[in-house]
């Protein structure tokens, strides 16, 4: 088994790494590219901890091989601030330091304790609100049911996402 070059876009910049076929996108991101904001939870695709966006759609980094990301665009939590939500309220070029409004809601509502589930939780919530503007708490709860949190009991996470959904609903396209 030899390592091959794989090129993809990570948070808006092109990266190329030498990667073996058995290496998951999760390990490639964390260990070869320093993207430790992507966390390892279960390695089976059931906990949501390792969520990243692939061409804008959420995927489990642990159930993708790095070689499958070739030519695609990957977004981690660190790249979220550079993405627009449904109301176009993100800011271009976010690269650490800037926060997406959804991240600010998590801070305001105390929706993070140990923080381990947070990157996956935020990206999943971001995608859901983007694709389902104006959703209520119950729909958000179902949408996040694939993301496990062992600390918070989920209430404040739902508070934060609900607040974000409400704040973007007014300016959503019909």
């Amino acid at each position: 088994m030899t390592a091959r070059p794989v090129r993809f876009e990570l948070n808006g910049r092109t990266v190329e790494i030498m990667i073996a076929a058995n290496r998951t996108l999760l390990f490639a991101l964390r260990e070869d590219l320093g993207a430790t904001e992507v966390k390892y939870g279960c390695g089976e695709g059931v906990c949501g901890t390792c969520t990243v966006l692939l061409d804008g759609e959420s995927v489990n980094a642990c159930t993708m091989l790095a070689v499958q990301a070739a030519g695609r665009s990957v977004t981690t939590l660190a790249g979220l601030a550079g993405l627009a939500g449904p109301a176009g309220d993100g800011r271009e070029g976010g690269d650490g330091g800037e926060l997406h409004p959804l991240q600010r809601r998590f801070l305001e509502h105390g929706a993070s304790q140990c923080g381990f589930c947070t990157p996956g939780m935020v990206l999943t919530a971001f995608e859901f609100v983007r694709d389902h503007p104006g959703s209520g708490r119950e729909d958000i709860r179902v949408a996040l049911s694939g993301n496990i949190c062992r600390c918070t009991g989920y209430t404040k996470i739902l508070d934060a996402v609900e607040a974000y959904a409400r704040s973007t609903a007014g300016s959503a396209d019909g």
Binding site: M1, G43, V46, L54, S58
Partner: protein, 288 residues
């Protein structure tokens, strides 16, 4: 927890995939969405020596033909949820797809992969049998069309031959007089089914059942057609009385296994509950 060493090669077509599988020998496996295979590799339950990546072998399209819908094997579960063609012609596929894993699994997992993986507690094998779907394959001996009922053999085992690959799934269109429903009992969102039932019920002009398919998952080594339950419904109005009797007969006829997730007795009892629910829901959807 990570996969053993392996090689990865991209197939440019289904024929190319067959050739690569043959050349790869016993250790070669098809990689589509990888949502079953890669977790197994991470757990070292699967240790393929070669992954034949078919993600570019075809376009993940859904085509409507005269009396059926043809789905590429690469159609993702998320595509089933969103497709206007599926919603119009075979909405039970979308209803079932919503139960598969979590949103991230549905963004990668494919119908070809799910059927070939043949987990008897998975959603799509159960629905494929209930709909009378036909599975298209290609292999060293050429192309085949395999009825879904004859495709699933045992746990994670199909009747696919060596180096044979699922290429597409044909689903008969559901007419106006037919109602379908998919119901599932799972402990948590995203879990495999404790029990699941797919019901396809066709009514005649008098509101009596002209045809019925009741198929259950989670109660055997493959999707189980509930013949006794179906027999109760034929010629009858699918009302509370008929649904309850069909559920009782279906429940008595299955032989589920004990597992850490649910006992055989619990599965049997829950099958009755969900058969009745599926029948009533499907019947309500069959337009007069």
């Amino acid at each position: 927890m990570y996969a053993s060493p392996t090689d990865h090669v991209v197939a440019t077509s289904w024929t190319d995939a067959v050739r690569l599988l043959q050349e790869g020998g016993d250790g070669a496996r098809i990689l589509a969405g990888g949502q079953s295979l890669i977790p197994m590799m991470n757990l070292r339950l699967a240790t393929p020596s070669l992954l034949v990546d078919v993600s570019g072998a075809d376009r993940p399209g859904i085509a409507v033909e005269e009396d059926r819908v043809v789905l590429s094997a690469l159609t993702r579960h998320a595509d089933l949820e969103r497709s206007a063609e599926v919603a119009t012609h075979c909405p039970i596929l979308a209803e079932a797809a919503r139960w598969i894993g979590n949103v991230r699994v549905r963004h990668r997992g494919t119908i070809g992969g799910s059927l070939a993986h043949a987990d008897p507690a998975a959603e799509l094998p159960c629905v494929a049998v209930a709909l009378g779907a036909t599975i298209r394959t290609t292999g060293p001996a050429g192309e085949r069309r395999i009825p879904a009922a004859g495709f699933f053999d045992s746990y994670f085992t199909t009747t696919l031959g060596e180096a044979e690959v699922v290429t597409a799934v044909e689903v008969p269109s559901v007419g106006a007089g037919t109602g379908c429903a998919f119901v599932e009992l799972a402990r948590r969102n995203g879990d495999f089914a404790t029990v699941e039932v797919a019901a396809v019920i066709e009514l005649d002009g008098a509101g009596r059942c002209a045809a019925a398919r009741l198929v259950a998952g989670g109660v055997g080594e493959r999707p189980v057609e509930l013949m006794d339950g179906q027999d109760v419904l034929l010629g009858e109005r699918p009302d509370e009385r008929a649904a309850t009797e069909a559920a009782r007969r279906a429940s008595a006829a299955v032989e589920p296994s004990d597992s850490v997730h649910a006992s055989a007795g619990y599965r049997r009892e829950m099958l009755g509950v969900f058969v009745r629910r599926a029948i009533l829901r499907a019947a309500a959807r069959a337009a007069p």
